[in-house]
């Protein structure tokens, strides 16, 4: 995935899209005050400088799907691991809830189910049946909308073709009005995302940690 910070307006459409797609638990003021609100993707905002020459930096941060993810080796039960497609997978039913992975995630993008999530009727009608409702005591995080990836791959397989570049769009990418986010296959040098990642503007978040994350941020240079 590539995120163009020059296009990003910080509107948080991606955040809402993620909530809608992935059945994220609702918070309430009390739980939010306890730091238990869920946002698989969040828009970090930082202020740089002082008034009047102050600038705002908006940066959508989601699971970076690192190739060398710090969260993976520390899980005692293999509830999180990297699969063949390079996704960091979180297996809810295997997770025992040590929360070690969340501590070791430098991007702080892992969220924990402190309780069983509850939605007042009839809000559950909105739940996406393609995505599990996580129970208490398990970790969860952005999956790059694995349900969409799988669907697209299945569709392509049944039509005996390759998945086209740009055919798969996670909910956040799909919703972004400014088209700041691009999703595709980084292994394919011809894909749009590969070209963006190879452009001079691309950096990775906390690259110095060597996590080999797969989200590229295109700098907001002039």
């Amino acid at each position: 995935m590539a995120i163009d910070l020059d296009r990003c307006t910080g509107c948080q459409a991606c955040v809402a899209a993620c909530h809608a797609e992935n059945n994220l638990p609702l918070s309430d003021p009390e739980s939010a005050a306890k730091g238990r609100a869920f946002h698989w993707i969040r828009v970090d905002r930082y202020y740089e400088g002082e008034f009047p020459s102050i600038r705002v930096k908006h940066m959508p941060v989601l699971c970076q799907q690192c190739d060398e993810a710090p969260c993976e080796p520390v899980c005692p039960v293999y509830a999180t691991y990297r699969n063949d497609e390079g996704l960091n997978v979180q297996v809810y039913n295997r997770c025992v809830g040590t929360r070690y992975c969340a501590n070791n995630c430098p991007y702080s993008v892992r969220f924990f189910n402190w309780f069983d999530p509850v939605w007042p009727e009839p809000l559950p009608l909105q739940h996406n049946p393609d995505v599990s409702i996580r129970m208490t005591g398990v970790m969860e995080k952005c999956t790059f909308c694995i349900q969409r990836i799988q669907r697209a791959e299945r569709d392509a397989a049944s039509e005996h073709r390759q998945v086209a570049d740009g055919e798969i769009q996670p909910a956040c990418v799909q919703s972004c009005p400014a088209e700041a986010m691009t999703f595709g296959d980084l292994n394919d040098p011809e894909s749009k995302v590969s070209r963006l990642a190879a452009s001079g503007r691309a950096t990775r978040l906390l690259e110095e940690l060597g996590t080999k994350s797969k989200v590229f941020y295109l700098e907001r240079s002039e």
Partner: protein
């Protein structure tokens, strides 16, 4: 048959042991009972032990077992890890170390139980001793009994008695 001789201090006991050894009793025939551990001078009552060696062997075999186990389990369910090694020696080093130590501990326990004879419940009689008394028990054939008794007397045993095998 068994004889017992009680002594009041370890000097006289050591003396008795020397006497007994001199008349041909082997350390295997002799047991010394006391409330507290007694150190005898070297060679008086040698109790050869292979405990250290066994423990090392136990430790090493546990380590090998551990390596094998970890290797087996990680390959038994070849989890998709996207290029990470299934079996990583260094990352599992701590496991090997701990299991090695566990091996050492367990073998020590087993060795202790074996060498102390607690595992091998014998039907030899156990003397009841008063506090502070050192009791030497000699396992001997009836014809050796007199010789043993004399040796004990020479060493100044307070009390010499014959012991019956408990049924």
């Amino acid at each position: 048959m068994y004889l017992r001789g009680d002594f009041e201090n370890d000097h006289s006991a050591a003396h008795a042991l020397r006497q007994l050894r001199a008349v041909g009793f082997t350390p295997a025939d002799i047991d010394v009972f006391s409330d507290e551990p007694i150190e005898f001078p070297k060679g008086v009552l040698p109790r050869p032990s292979r405990m250290s060696l066994t423990v090392v062997t136990g430790a090493v075999s546990f380590m090998l077992l551990a390596v094998g186990f970890v290797y087996y389990t990680q390959h038994n369910y070849p989890l998709v890890t996207g290029g990470m090694p299934l079996f990583s020696f260094w990352a599992t080093g701590v496991i090997f170390y701990e299991l090695t130590m566990l091996g050492a501990i367990l073998t020590t326990l087993v060795c202790f139980l074996w060498e102390s004879g607690l595992l091998r419940r014998s039907r030899r009689p156990v003397p009841i001793i008063e506090p502070g008394i050192i009791c030497i028990r000699i396992g001997c054939l009836p014809d050796q009994a007199d010789e043993a008794r004399r040796a004990l007397e020479r060493a100044g045993a307070r009390n010499i008695a014959r012991m019956e095998v408990a049924e």
